[in-house]
């Protein structure tokens, strides 16, 4: 296990290096922040050049990349060009909001998906199974920007139950978490249903029935644990994706997460801030993946590393 973990950590470091190269390269293609900052102001070429020098943007790209890597090793990703604050600090400041909405959305998704998935596997022709299928289709087919705006119209403007946007109280969390959680809920409930159906037809489950166990014991103790493996994978993937990519939901609900910050940084060509955000999200993603792999071994003792 220890050797496996070490090897995985080595791989992760390599992935991170590749990620930084990709981000850095893309930012070079995206262009020069100084031009955007001074567009329309009548600035002269000398003024552009002096601002570039001030910001350390006048060195050739490979030199700047090496400087960036050196900073990364010391944990210093430079200052945001626009906020004039430590770039990593700005991203870390948003992390609680991002984690909060990610965990809330996944919590909501699991709270719905696990019972619906189990019940529709146990009673494949029951009412819940059909209702679950309809919900899953809707949940997976509805784009979140539309759903979010509709939820705001209904629950904020018409019913006045929740605020339309913002951050800070539990009431602010409800609409974005539900909007964001609906898609993983639909996906996980379908996946759990099919995976549980498959397990329920296995020999050892029949043995459990034959022992005279209750339905509860058979399904929850024996079948669910084995059916959970693919579900854990999907949860891990969704978690990673939500950490970096809840941009649309964050935009609609004015939620101050990492996604919204990164998009604004991209529009502003705030290179240091974009790099800090991407590095952080990549690290988070890597950790989540590692945790999922460790969780496999815990769920299924046959899996050895």
């Amino acid at each position: 296990m220890t050797r496996y973990l070490l090897r995985r950590l080595g791989q992760s470091a390599l992935v991170l290096i590749l990620v930084t190269m990709a981000v850095f390269g893309l930012l070079q293609v995206a262009g020069d922040p100084v031009v955007i900052m001074l567009s329309g102001t009548g600035a002269s070429e000398e003024q552009l050049q002096s601002l570039r020098r001030e910001l350390g943007l006048d060195a050739p790209a490979p030199v700047r990349y090496l400087r960036f890597l050196g900073g990364l090793l010391r944990g210093d990703l430079g200052k945001s060009l626009r906020f004039n604050q430590d770039a990593m600090g700005l991203v870390l400041e948003r992390l609680p909001a991002t984690l909060l909405i990610t965990v809330a959305a996944l919590g909501f998704a699991l709270a719905g998906a696990i019972p619906v998935g189990i019940l529709s596997a146990v009673r494949p022709r029951g009412a819940i199974s059909y209702a679950g299928r309809v919900l899953a289709t809707i949940g997976q087919a509805t784009p979140v920007f539309w759903l979010g705006i509709m939820m705001v119209l209904l629950f904020s403007v018409q019913l006045r139950w929740f605020p339309a946007g913002g951050y800070g109280t539990p009431a602010h969390l409800v609409l974005p978490a539900v909007a964001l959680g609906l898609y993983p809920m639909a996906r996980i409930s379908r996946l759990l249903r099919s995976s549980l159906l498959e397990v329920l037809s296995q020999d050892y489950v029949r043995t459990a029935w034959a022992k005279g166990l209750h339905e509860r014991g058979v399904v929850l103790r024996h079948a669910l644990k084995n059916a959970a493996l693919p579900v854990v994978t999907v949860i891990g993937l969704s978690f990673g994706a939500l950490l970096g990519g809840a941009v649309v939901t964050e935009t609609i609900f004015a939620w101050p997460g990492v996604g919204l910050l990164s998009v604004q940084a991209i529009y502003n060509r705030d290179a240091n801030l974009v790099q800090a955000a991407v590095v952080l999200v990549a690290v988070a993603f890597t950790i989540v993946n590692l945790l999922v792999d460790v969780l496999y071994a815990w769920l299924d003792p046959r899996i050895r590393y």
Binding site: L38, S39, G42, Q85, V152, Y167
Partner: protein, 507 residues
């Protein structure tokens, strides 16, 4: 096993809601109490240090925190403010009298030395404010109430430029440094900083000792909401009292919710800029033809729902250099004339042209580009639309020699015509599409003409040259600003997108 899951999930949720709670501010109770207002703009402010960040979102807040040296309004007028008077001692020296008895929020006195420091700090800045006062070569506080500045050559626009200078507290700024100043600013303005949870809200409270009298509003909260329909929802639910930057299609929702819509013609002009170095656009007849081919009224009425004002020349009304309308060629919609001009230029059979445009930056920019493409199609010009985000477009416009034409825009920060000329018509500026020896010569002559009438003469000649002879643009319109306002707010917006807290009233 299932119990273990539940416990794990609960623990995570608890831990996170702990860290996720606001640390510096109480929960939002926007717009509830009298005397409190919430203003919702699109993007979030980046820095409260005006030498770093001059985006409108931030500038609107800064204008409340600080006082400008001179108060400049978008119609080009100047009012004594922190400076009570300014005179040209000689062509390159200005003597400025500073108001007595003004103090910053922390009690630091505001004097000539504060102003001198502010100019130097702008010029030292690593941010967007760096560019504006480089023309000032020396500052000298003669005594506490007198400042002398020397400029790089005679610059008649100096007082107007100084309308853009916020006066900063020298001691406090030097003590905390730019990074902390950007988050914990101190100014002399009518409001002072209360707290800022970045990305969530920024709260200011009124300065009870403001030298011009105390504001009628106790507290203002600024919140970001990038999505326009969310801003409208926040107005309708009472979470917001003023919402900025509303697209025309959202207007009926606001009116149906019994809130007020305020439309204000802005100084933001839109135009199509040609690449005059390429065939066939190097022929002025072709550029005139394309001007005649565009039905500007249709663009304004059909695409923008009337939320724009047609413009025939680049200089805003009332500004130095603006010509009487009968001095400028208006290029009215006349497709027959357009076809005739194209035929005279030898491209009667039409031609292909790229039209580069932004998506989602200006009012209906993509739809306007499509309408222009259709109208040009009617006279035989086959337009290839090239749409992209504004950052990429600005990059390409300034760093590549973009083919064909681009739908572009300009809005002034400083209300002197010199800025307009340098932004577009100066061969040493960023924009290289509409420059010539003649525009250079006239704009430099105007920039140095200390006599106001002489300056007016030169600039109006330059405007006539640009519109009547050079034709580097299709002159389109100035778009309107659209705000939604709750019934308890009294306010008149400004043409430059500024929300000045000094003009707000709560009913």
């Amino acid at each position: 096993m299932s119990r273990r899951w539940v416990v794990l999930a609960l623990l995570l949720l608890l831990g996170l809601s702990g860290t996720g709670a606001p640390q510096t501010l109480p929960a939002a109770s926007a717009g509830a109490a009298a005397g409190k207002l919430t203003i919702v703009q699109g993007p979030e402010p980046l820095s409260m240090d005006p030498t770093m960040d001059i985006n409108k979102t931030s500038y609107n807040i800064q204008l409340g925190l600080y006082d400008p040296l001179i108060f400049a309004t978008p119609d080009g007028r100047l009012r004594p403010w922190i400076a009570t008077s300014w005179t040209n001692v000689n062509p390159t020296t200005w003597r400025i009298k500073i108001r007595k008895g003004v103090t910053f929020h922390n009690g630091e006195p505001l004097n000539a030395e504060s102003v001198a420091f502010s100019i130097e700090q702008y010029n030292r800045s690593r941010g967007e404010g760096n560019k504006y006062f480089q023309f000032i070569k020396g500052t000298k506080a003669v005594d506490a109430e007198t400042l002398e500045i020397t400029t790089d050559g005679p610059i008649p626009a100096t007082p107007t430029m100084l309308g853009f200078l916020f006066v900063l507290p020298k001691n406090y700024y030097t003590q905390v440094g730019p990074e902390r100043f950007g988050v914990e600013p101190v100014g002399s303005g009518p409001v002072k900083m209360q707290g800022w949870q970045r990305g969530v809200r920024l709260v200011v409270v009124r300065n009870e000792k403001y030298w011009r009298g105390v504001l009628p509003i106790e507290e203002i909260t600024y919140r970001p909401a990038p999505e326009a329909s969310t801003r409208v929802a926040m107005l309708l639910t009472g979470e917001a009292d003023i919402i900025a930057n509303i697209p025309p299609e959202q207007i009926p929702r606001i009116e149906a919710g019994r809130m007020r819509v305020i439309r204000q013609p802005s100084l933001r002009k839109l135009f199509v800029e040609f690449n005059m170095k390429q065939r066939p656009l190097d022929d002025v007849r072709v550029r005139r033809a394309l001007n005649h081919a565009i039905d500007k009224e249709e663009l304004i009425n059909l695409v923008l729902g009337g939320n724009a004002i047609r413009e025939i020349g680049p200089v805003p009304d009332g500004w130095l250099g603006a010509n009487p309308k009968n001095q400028l060629t208006a290029y009215d919609y006349n497709p027959a004339r357009a076809r005739q001009l194209l035929a005279e230029a030898g491209v009667g059979g039409g031609f292909q042209m790229d039209l580069w445009h932004s998506i989602g930056r200006y009012l209906k920019d993509k739809e306007i580009a499509e309408a222009i493409a259709a109208q040009l199609g009617n006279v035989g010009v086959r337009v290839n639309l090239q749409g992209m985000d504004i950052g990429s477009l600005v990059q390409r416009i300034h760093t590549q020699n973009l083919s064909g034409a681009h739908l572009f825009s300009w809005a002034p920060l400083i209300f002197d015509t010199d800025n307009l000329w340098r932004a577009h018509f100066y061969s040493k500026g960023l924009n290289q599409y509409a420059v010539s020896a003649k525009t250079d010569e006239l704009l430099l002559a105007g920039a140095a003409a200390l006599d106001r009438r002489e300056r007016q003469r030169i600039y109006s000649e330059l405007e006539r040259h640009v519109v009547n002879d050079m034709v580097p643009w299709i002159f389109l319109y100035r778009q309107s600003l659209i705000y939604g306002v709750s019934n308890k707010v009294g306010w008149l917006p400004r043409a430059d997108e500024v929300i000045n807290v000094r003009n707000l009233i709560v009913k």
